[in-house]
């Protein structure tokens, strides 16, 4: 039986805590070939750009939203689409949290819409998102 039979609107997705440090941010931007100084040059980020610290790369926060979805899905379904926006910056030293919930579902087609978030320590949603996943349709 498809797992969608047991899913209902409001079901939470497991939360996960992230504590990105300089090493992770360096490796991420190296993997991209992204040399933007706001991610590794502390004096530049704070004194020239006026940020309070080194800025976590926006697409890394988006990646964490996709991880929230695919770990919840397991091998039961597929990620079909994701949409998110980076509304507020996050900085090295912050503890962030990903999570979400089921917004709606169509059992006949197997389609499930999810609401996603990255929150900061102040419990502000800094990266909201929506994903659509697909489970095998119910018979």
């Amino acid at each position: 039986m498809s797992r969608i039979a047991s899913i209902k609107p409001g079901d939470p997705l497991p939360e996960r805590e992230f504590k990105p440090d300089n090493v992770q941010l360096f490796l991420y931007n190296a993997a991209l070939w992204n040399a933007h100084r706001i991610h590794f040059d502390y004096p530049y980020a704070t004194e020239v750009e006026g940020y309070p610290g080194l800025v976590i790369a926006g697409p890394l926060l988006g990646d964490w939203l996709t991880q929230c979805v695919i770990e919840w899905l397991g091998s039961d379904g597929e990620l079909k689409s994701i949409e998110y926006s980076n509304r507020k910056a996050a900085y090295i030293g912050e503890t962030l949290r990903s999570g979400g919930k089921v917004l709606s579902l169509e059992r006949e087609s197997g389609s499930v819409e999810l609401e996603l978030y990255i929150k900061n320590e102040a419990d502000e949603v800094i990266t909201p998102g929506v994903a659509v996943v697909s489970f095998p349709a119910t018979q």
Partner: protein, 151 residues
């Protein structure tokens, strides 16, 4: 009513950058998976690429002297906008199939829209870029739409 978007600027809508072709390697998948904190073994082993691996695969690889002083590469697809300070951006990705080591993928980026809105502190310019990623044989892999806001 629009004050910032000249007809010359709007004429850039529809422009595409030359297609870029990249080979997906297990090593690059592994590096991306570790850097992003993936926990699924298929990603950490490089057997399959995580959903946002294409961001790294198609990030522009530019020479050092072509970076601006702040370390950013200039996107030749974009015209010079009258507003330059970038605000929050958004991304929408539609997936058609997973990416695996050995795939040769082709990405084509097109500037699909430029529009203006009035923000609370002045005008804002929005632009959208769509990147189509396909296999060499033309099979759809994913579509990514990026929206950026300038103030």
């Amino acid at each position: 009513m629009s004050t910032l978007l000249t007809s010359d600027l709007l004429a850039n809508i529809g422009r595409s950058a030359p297609p870029r072709k990249e080979l997906v390697t297990r090593r690059d998948i592994r590096k991306y998976a570790i850097a992003t904190g993936q926990r699924l073994e298929k990603y950490l082993a490089g057997d399959e690429a995580p959903p946002m691996f294409h961001v790294a695969l198609f990030w522009n690889v530019v020479e050092l002297e072509k970076l601006t002083p702040d370390g950013v590469s200039i996107d030749s697809l974009l015209p010079k906008f009258p507003l330059e300070r970038a605000m929050a951006g958004g991304l929408k990705i539609d997936y058609y199939r997973a990416i695996f080591p050995g795939d040769v993928l082709v990405a084509t980026r097109t500037l699909t829209d430029i529009y203006e809105k009035q923000g609370s502190q002045g005008p804002l310019i929005f632009y959208e870029v769509i990147m189509q990623v396909e296999s060499e044989s033309g099979e759809r892999v994913l579509t990514e739409k990026t929206t950026r806001i300038l103030r």
